[in-house]
Every structure is written in C-alpha cells, then in structure tokens.
Symmetry: C2
Subunit: 382 residues, 2 copies
C-alpha cells in the first residue's frame, strides 16, 4: 500500500473546478493520455510512464467521477487512488490496446476536450487515435489546453507545501557546493556529486540536471556533462529539477573557481538585479509579458536563444505560462513560477540565473533560497 500524495479532498476540489470550467466551455467530457494530466485528476504516480509500451487513458466527465481505462499492470496502483471506476485490459494487446474499451466510455459524449495545443502531446499511437475518432461519429474532439492550463497553473497549498520542501532540499544541496565541487574535478563527476547530494538532502529523484562550465561562462544550458576538469577562472552552472512526491524544483546556481573575471561578475550582478526587479513587481494582476519587460529592461538584451525568462513549475519541470513578450497570462495567488533571466556575456558564453517563487497577495514567497548578490567564488586564490 503506497501512501496517497494528497488527501481525497484535494482531488475532489480539482474535479469540481474542472467540471465548473467544462460547463462554462460546453465540454461533455475531457480525455487524457499524458502523465501529468492523469496524475492531476487521479493521484496515480509511477515512473512506469517511461515505458512507451502501454497507453493509459483517463476520462473526466462533465458530471460524475473520472473513469480510468488502464492496462492491468496498473490496476492495483490505480485502485489505491480515490478513483473507483477503473477499467482494465491485458496490455500489450495484439489488436486492440484499450481502444474499444475507451470508445465505450467516450461514445456517450458529444463534445470531448483533450489537450491539443501549446505544450501538449498525444501519448498513444496516432493510428489508434484516428481509429478511435472514426469509431465515434457522434463525438467531436476539441482542444481543451487553455482550460487545463488554467486549472493546473494555480497550485493548492498542499501542492505548494511539497514544492516548498523540494526547493529547500535543493537549496540545502547547493549550500554544500564548497564541499562538492573543486578545481580538477571532471564536470561529469561534479554532476554525480550533486545528484548524490540532492538525494542525501531528501530528494526522491533527480530527473533533471543540466549545466555547463567554462572560462567566465558556459556555451550552453541543456548539455549533458563532459569529462573536462573544472579549471581556475571557470564558471560552473548547475540547473536542477529534483523531485519530491512527483513535484519539481527548477533552479540553478553559478559558482566561479579560483577567480572570476569582471565580465562574469558584472553579468551575474545584472541577472541578480533583473531577478530583484521581477520579484518587486511579481504581484497578482501583473502579466507574464510585464515580468518579461521588467527583466529585459535591467538586462538590456533580448532573450536570445533561450526564448523566455521563466515559466510555471509543478508536476512538470516546466509548465505554462511562459515569461515572454507574447504571453499575457495574468499572475494569480498560488501560481508557482520560475524567474530565469539569462544573458549573452560574449560570443559562445552565456549566463543564466533562476529562482522559484509563489505568487501571493502582496510580496511573492520565495521557494528557492535566494542566490547571493555577488558571484560566489570557490577555492578563491588568496
């Protein structure tokens, strides 16, 4: 028996809000195939989604309880959630991997919403989806991306408690940097040491860890680590999405080794000030576009390759909305966001800062322990 991540009321509240929004937008049901959405409504949490073999389906009707249509291998775990209506088949299946079972559930609905828009994907065979659609001539499938985004983007206090906890764990791990990282250490070993530190500090898992290191900055923010040893003058950046009970932190820290050149120090200060400026205006009613403009005014550059200065955060490492000029999403209390200003220091040399926060009435609540105002230097030459 696995402990539920949240009490039943959490999921009942999500369902009530979803069904209210569905009535307002004329949806008879919603249909999901992806991990975050299935977990949002059911509490079903497993790493087994990493196996692409089996599809998993959830139908949220406009009235009544959600219906899980899942492979038999998931029946026991789904039965531990608050979901009562669980229909299973033996998967993988030679000819019908849950499609007729799913069709039986969906056929009574005229308008079925599913995420088809920004940030969505279809986690089932396209041929099966087309077969399903063709078998349901009385059902129209329509995009419900905005509805689901609006629901998920405002977190409950129960969700925020978990997010606060994982951010504290990652902050604790980053605080150990002077013990973990040193000149001469291959970058891959620095990553390994940091993964272990995150686990020891209490993280359940470290599904995301990227970063870079190089003289006075790094060329890239999405690469896996190479074997090059850390050198005096390097700036190391580690960006982690560690998890607790399936919720992510997502922030980074920069460290110089031995010494830091003035370009790196100045860039760091600029990004720190950009974050301060965003924290000063991150209030309910402000839009993503305004947050973006605020940071850009301090940085004095475009977002460049990165494309945005932060995003939503929760069950996924990145969630809607995006802190970018075209995103007019309005901040609301309970939204958990990253602020992630970045800048080009020189050709092939960038710097990124990131903090995690909750939008509150009044000042935002910082979840990550605020980075120091000056670029920290490890093993400083004395």
């Amino acid at each position: 028996m696995t402990e539920a991540d949240f009490p039943k009321q959490e999921f009942e509240g999500r369902l009530v809000r979803a069904q209210r929004a569905m009535r307002a937008t004329g949806l008879d049901a919603m249909f999901f195939t992806t991990e975050a959405e299935v977990r949002y409504f059911t509490g079903f949490r497993t790493l087994f989604w990493q196996s692409p073999t089996r599809p998993w389906f959830l139908v949220v009707p406009g009235e009544g309880q959600p219906i899980a249509i899942v492979p038999e291998i998931g029946a026991a775990l789904m039965a531990e959630t608050w979901i009562d209506d669980i229909r299973t088949w033996s998967s993988p299946h030679a000819t019908d991997d849950g499609i007729s079972l799913l069709g039986d559930v969906l056929k009574r609905f005229a308008v079925v919403g599913m995420p088809m828009g920004r940030e969505s994907s279809l986690r089932m065979a396209l041929t099966d989806f087309e077969r399903l659609r063709n078998s349901l001539p009385g059902t129209r499938f329509t995009d419900c991306t905005p509805l689901v985004r609006d629901l998920r983007m405002v977190k409950s206090e129960a969700e925020i408690d978990v997010l606060r906890h994982i951010c504290a764990i990652a902050s604790d791990a980053f605080d150990k940097a002077p013990e973990l990282f040193h000149i001469g250490q291959p970058l891959s070993e620095a990553f390994r040491a940091f993964r272990v530190a995150l686990l020891r500090a209490g993280a359940d898992d470290v599904p995301y860890l990227v970063g870079g290191a190089g003289p006075g900055g790094y060329p890239d923010v999405i690469s896996p680590p190479g074997a090059r040893p850390l050198q005096p003058g390097d700036v190391l950046m580690l960006d982690t999405g560690a998890t607790l009970r399936g919720y992510h932190c997502d922030f980074d820290r920069n460290f110089a080794f031995g010494d830091a050149d003035e370009t790196a120090r100045a860039g760091y200060r600029t990004l720190h000030r950009a974050t301060d400026a965003a924290l000063a205006v991150a209030r309910p009613g402000v839009t993503c576009a305004e947050l973006h403009r605020t940071m850009q005014a301090v940085i004095g550059q475009d977002t460049g390759d990165v494309g945005r200065y932060g995003h939503g955060l929760g069950m996924q490492l990145t969630e809607s909305p995006s802190i970018i000029g075209f995103d007019d999403t309005v901040m609301q209390p309970g939204m958990v966001m990253t602020l992630e200003p970045s800048m080009v220091l020189a050709e092939g040399r960038i710097m990124v800062h990131e903090e995690n926060l909750v939008i509150r009435d009044g000042e935002p609540e910082l979840l990550s322990r605020r980075a120091p105002a000056e670029l920290p230097v490890l093993e400083a030459a004395t």
Copy 2:
C-alpha cells in the same frame, strides 16, 4: 564541447540502413518528434526533452543528410553532432512554433513516414500537426513504425558496449545489497540508498527505479516506495533502469530479509528456471512467441497482469519487441532483450525476475550478472 556518444560512422551506418529500408518501402522521407528517434539519427542527447514547452523535429530524407529543425536553445548542442543542416527558430513562439519551417522542408516529399503505431507517440501539439498536414496537400503521411523498430531493435557493437557497461554498473550496485538494505529501513530509504549506490558505481542517472516489499512477495511492480520499514519475512524487489550515455539497463533483483517462506523460495526457483529455459533457446531464428511459450511452460501460469515476459532494451527503458504470445518477431544477432518472467505467488503477492542479454550467433551474451539460483536472504536468522 560535449564528447559525442559514438563516432560519426555509427550514425552514417544508421542513415544508410534507414535509407535502404525507405527505398524498399517507398518512403521519400521520415519525420520524427520524439527523443529516442531524434537521438538515434543525430546523437543529440539532452535531458531538456523533459520540458514540454518546445517541439523538436527531425526529417530524414530518402537521399542526402538529415535535417534538424529545432528551437534556437538547442542549436549549439545540435551543432556538436554530425548533423550539418540545422534550421532554428525562436521558441516558444506566439503563432508558429516551427511549423512553417518544418513545412518548408517536408513540402518536397510525396510520402512521409512517421511513427504512428505501437509504442509511438506524437510529441507536438495535435493542432500543429493537423495544421502542418493541411498545409501540405501534396504530402501523404504514413506509418513507418515497423521500419524504425527493425532498425533500432538490432544494436551495433558500439551500442552493446555501452549497454554492457551500464548492466555491469547495476550488477555492482546490486552486489552491495547486504550493505545497503536492512530490516527496519523504510522502503523509501532503501530506494534512496540504491540510487546513490548506482551513481557511485558509475551510472550517469537513475531515471527508473521501482519495486516493492512485503511478506513473502509484493503486491505490485510499478509503485513508488512508501515509508513502511522492511520486516523479517519480507521479500524486497528492486527493478532499475539506470543509464550511461543515455542507454538503459533494465533488470531487477529479489532479496528476502531474516527468513523466506517456502512459497517465496519455490517461486523464486521457478522463475530462475524459466529464465534458464529461455536462455537455452534464445538463438537467432527463435521468435518472441517461442520465448514466451518456453517460459510459460516452466511457470505453468499465464502472464497475468504484467502481460509479457520481457522486451527490447536500449535508449528507452523498454523497446520493441515484446516477449508475448502474439509477437512473432524473430531474434537476430545484436538484439538486446530483457527476460522478465513473473508469477502470482498468492492473492496480492507476485514475484518478478529480470535479466538482460544480447542475442548472438550461438549462446546469448548475458549483460546482467546472473541472479543466484536460490532466493538470497539478508540478515538471515542464525
């Protein structure tokens, strides 16, 4: 600069084989949106796929070099691969997240294959895919799942070297079980200790770790760990997909604590014998269905909830084919497979065994260090 996972010839060989198969099946190009397929043809490896925000596209033409159509944030890393034709856009984008750029590439092809079948998913907004399809009236999209499966399922010796290495690392970590696991330890702490042991043994990452523990067996094989402490008489099973350079091991081990009841011991022996029986027949020319039948004959039960007795293994934790009665895929030298027989010991109590191997001319090569023939007992009562 990140080191390439494989020399250029590895990718050239993959392209040559793909283009030969495309000619044989009448495809003018193939189009991919998912991590494993993009990495297979390019070598582009990053954990950044975990962010759902940006789509990534790869087009493999019937003649000539692959074309990567990727967000600017990925341009530097893609430029380090063997791919020369890289087209980027600033993503996320308000109105056109790479779709017109992609359309410009695809419009010259009449028949475009993409994975639409078993184990596939569409990692882009369905509305964007439909917009793309509508913008290309002269292009027909067709399923190329079998072609891609046949290519990826036979591994090169370079791939097998990495798989052998990560399996050895996980075997080393499992060998430390007597130091890592103990009576009174919460299951969640056993998971944490094992993750750390895998990293210390040399794994890059532990994206998959599931398991269970309970008196004489466990109820489930896909659950995250709870806080219940390990107790005398428990059987603990840990099933790990640790990675090295983006390739997975996938095998499990069972351990009893204090003592084991005869049902658990006998079940363990049966599963070990089922694996031996499969190893004795796993030769080129044998089908998945025959491997399944061989194990089922020893076990004397149906596959039950799990649905199959093993699968392919590589860049993904599970890959085609499936060791199941309806899968007639023929074993070929170089296929890397798991053997994963399971059985129901009693109501709510199952047991699973798993080993990883390479199909060779003659006897298969075992990649996981073979589990002992008798259920190991830790902290045995003396």
